[in-house]
């Protein structure tokens, strides 16, 4: 079994089938891109994986363990972390406190555990946030808020990172910077699944691409192949999105 495996994953919302018997796998150390037009079910896949939605059918396995019905915190404890599409910082707490929260152990008796100030500084520095530790999230520019989301996810020391539109709202320079960070992470052994609309950033980063449309996989392969793939082009053009 591979490191991360979706087997016939299905998610229904009443009559609507958002994800339809989707199967895919990711090996350790890979960066896989998950692309598809709006509404194709990409975020739903992430939500099911992270335990935010209950799975209607099929299974999800991570590192040999089944996590289909696991709760969010359990999934994170197993070693997955997600950077959401919508940033979700804790506005009442500083940047440093936000990161610190994500290092805390899930134990009611641990009163002083978690990362040290030095470690928090390092988590922040990885995303160039080390000078903003005392600022509040709502004072940060958009790109920094996104970086904080990544820093928080990294603070849980994940083995698999789900990135949902990490480049959203960033300019080219910021995207390039973030792509570099992700490549560094890959070198450190973090496996990643990336969802994004920005093909430029994504295609450079990933080893392989999976394309989904209307909840099902319609193509898979390396970035160059997918860029040429007729079916994929039609799926995007059909939903008035240009590749």
């Amino acid at each position: 079994m591979s490191f991360f495996e979706l087997d016939g994953l299905t998610k229904r919302f009443g009559g609507l089938v958002a994800v339809d018997a989707l199967s895919m796998s990711v090996d350790r150390g890979e960066i896989v891109g998950l692309i598809g037009p709006n509404g194709s079910g990409k975020s739903t896949v992430f939500n099911c994986t992270m335990g935010r939605y209950t799975v209607s059918d099929g299974s999800i396995h991570f590192d040999g363990r089944e996590i289909t019905d696991a709760k969010t915190h359990e999934v994170v404890e197993h070693g997955l972390a997600r950077v959401s599409q919508e940033s979700n910082p804790i506005d009442a707490m500083s940047v440093g406190a936000n990161i610190k929260l994500f290092t805390l152990p899930n134990s009611v008796t641990s009163l002083r555990g978690g990362a040290s100030e030095k470690e928090i500084f390092r988590y922040a520095a990885r995303l160039d946030l080390e000078n903003k530790l005392h600022e509040q999230p709502d004072e940060l520019p958009h790109a920094d808020v996104r970086r904080l989301e990544v820093a928080k996810a990294l603070a849980t020391e994940p083995e698999l990172l789900l990135l949902d539109e990490p480049f959203a709202g960033m300019n080219q320079q910021e995207i390039d910077g973030l792509v570099e960070k992700f490549e560094e992470l890959r070198d450190e052994g973090v496996t990643m699944i990336v969802v994004d609309h920005n093909m430029g950033g994504l295609m450079r980063l990933v080893d392989r691409v999976v394309v989904i449309h209307n909840g099902t996989k319609i193509a898979a392969g390396d970035p160059e192949e997918i860029a040429e793939n007729e079916q994929v082009r039609r799926a995007y053009l059909g939903s008035s999105e240009a590749m």
């Binding site: 359990e74 610190k100 805390l104 555990g113």
Partner: protein, 358 residues
Amino acid sequence: MSSDTQTGGPLESVADGYNDRFGHLFGELNGPQFALLIGSLAVLLVAPVWTSLLGVGGLLRTLALASIWAILAMAWDIQSGYTGYISFGHAVLSGGAAYTTAMLVAHVNPDLPFLVTAPISVLAALVIGLVIAVPSLRLRGPYFSLVTFVAGLIFYQLTYAFSGYTGGELGQRVGRIEFELAGAQVTTFDPVTRYYVMLVPMLVIAVALLYVARSNVGMILIAIRENEEAVAAAGIDTTKFKIWSFVLSSIPMGVGGVLLAHFYGTVNPLNFLLVDRSIEIIAMAVVGGMSSILGPIGGAFLVIVLREEVLGVFGVTGRWVALWTVVLLVLVFARDGLFRKLWHVLGDWGRIDGGDDE
């Protein structure tokens, strides 16, 4: 923001000394804030002396009562103030402990010593707390509050329905607190001893809850209040922590209930389970400043002193009208709490130079 204005140079040094040693445990203070805390502590510790010097012996009784309510208010705060799951029936916990003591004495053995009835009663409060918390904490905010409110109403009615056991409207008598400590007999017959029997637990609980509140557990509880989803994404089981906050709350509530029972000498529905009592606890915490542990202490003392000493001019019932009106005004105009406002004022008043130890 840098300025060389320092008020009270030696005061600041003492505060810094405290900060160095305890700051990372309890949070840092500046000079005036430190003075407020130490001053208040000193005043409370020697109250029997100055109340008798000033000839206001009745005030000692009021301060003892206020200490008990401070326990209840702090206990409410660590759960409701910190997690944001506001409980409107918290008197069930202290009332449950009080009634346990009363029923043990009335139906099991009138000679049961305090050191036996007290722990059992606190345990009862913990059990009641878990019974209420475990099923209800998965409900969203307003629904959770509703369940706790209704739980309070149910318990109140049950004391009348089972008046054979509970003594109904008149309630049941409990004796004084009496136990041996280091060879000496401690009894609440003596007003000074009684005062310390109420004050010391309050101080101990305050230190304990402050420690927890300023620790990672406190941070998690606050984060749950602010953004529960993000906390789950941090790999933390929020339900477990919410239940834990109930545990941390129920135990002091039990202690407070036991002390209150022995203070009044009688346990009845009016003084222990009426919805007004739950609201009083909340009012004290909110008036002082929710989610701070210290705020509720200030709020409790303010409300009790007002109620017992000041507002009596309006008459036995009129004082309640006056009290609730004061509470309402604070809710509308100072919803973050009066003590919190004071704390911030003191914080601004003290050292303002740009921190050099960061």
